[in-house]
Subunit: 211 residues, 2 copies
DNA sequence: TAGATTGTTAATCGATTAACAATC
DNA sequence: TAGATTGTTAATCGATTAACAATC
């Protein structure tokens, strides 16, 4: 989880998709306008926080009125870069990797646009060539050429802990700067590269404290 | 992600399993003693932070020397409650649920003790009765009696967003106070109940900002 | 206009870092 | 003892909250 050079705190960037989600769920006709209070109620984030977060990126509301739902939704998509196709790759077609792939394909079906899973890699010859949805699992040996050909900009890692670092290093060399890591290992990356790690083991052990 | 009444910040509790992991990976004979500097190097957390976090729970080191590896490991397990069996349940035997179950069974095989997945629930009659490792998938209709019988204290949710809140409410009524939620929805829980949500969709959208 | 809600500043809160006395 | 490292306090940093002027 490396900080990026930019000026907007990561904690703010992580809240933007939460705002976007409630805006996507709001009915356009019923709620053409939405207030920071309403967004706060739907997300559990304070209205002041919502307004402060948004002002990091510009002025989107009208005083005394609120935010135009459609406009704010569009702006958030633009800020996050989701107004364009963002090709995503996945390495590791084990149980977890396949689950994430299917989960994401379903998510894309419901909310098209933005991130799009475009390649799955594995090193197991038994898996290479088989399909997941409309994707064919590729040999990870061809990672470099495939990442470049598809313009992959986010890479999901669902591989054993021992293999994750080497794969990240290879992908960074090709210009990938954003990783979602499911391997139970903390990855070393240079400044400007962001890694979000989701580690079920660590989560359970932290929850044990409260259980 | 609700705050707990206790005095130790959640951000500290979340670092404890990270410390524990490096202590478990350290070779006892090679490193009978470990310094905060070494822990810091292995985790990417500053040595001062390591010491400060630990002093929330007591005095475990020796000035001028460091921490006895075995002792600190044992103390961290005790602090987190991992010195006793913590029964864990899982609802949802879809792709993601099954992947998490298998991932966790593998984790337990390698590091026995502490959290232990003891029940899997689903509502699909086709899945009920089938096995995952040595666990038989149970009917979620029997959630209440099974949670009580097994003494489940952490519940993992791998169900559709629409079903998560109702299931959390049922489990809270039975005394479950810790949840690991994979459903793409923010759950409302009373004070004293902790929910850690892992949402692949939100993660990807936040990463899009950096991609 | 009166009422409402934003954008923004100032105050508060909390976490991290720096630094060092204690002490092994 | 001399060197090293903890435990702890003070200083810094950053994020959240409160409050309100601007203005629709």
């Amino acid at each position: 989880m490396s900080a990026r050079s930019g000026r907007v705190p990561e904690v703010v960037v992580r809240r933007l998709p939460v705002y976007l989600r409630v805006l996507e769920e709001l009915n356009e006709t019923e709620s053409p306008i939405v207030s920071s209070q309403e967004i706060g109620r739907l997300t559990g984030i304070s209205p002041g926080q919502v307004r402060k977060d948004l002002t990091n990126f510009g002025v989107f509301g009208k005083q005394g009125v609120g935010y135009r739902t459609a406009l704010l939704r569009r702006e958030l998509r633009r800020i996050l870069g989701l107004d364009r196709l963002i090709p995503v790759g996945l390495i590791g077609a084990g149980h977890l990797g396949l689950a994430v792939a299917r989960y994401d394909q379903e998510r894309e079906r419901r909310h098209p646009g933005g991130t799009c899973l475009m390649a799955i890699f594995d090193k197991d010859p038994q898996k290479i060539g088989t399909t997941v949805g409309d994707l064919v699992i590729q040999d990870v040996a061809k990672l470099e050429e495939s990442l470049l050909a598809l313009g992959i900009r986010i890479l999901i890692l669902a591989v054993p802990a021992t293999e994750a670092q080497a794969l990240v290093d290879r992908a960074i060399r090709l210009g990938v700067r954003a990783f979602l890591n499911f391997a139970p290992v903390s990855l070393k990356v240079p400044p400007g590269v962001v890694v979000h790690t989701t580690d079920v083991g660590l989560e359970l052990e932290a929850l044990a404290y409260y259980a």
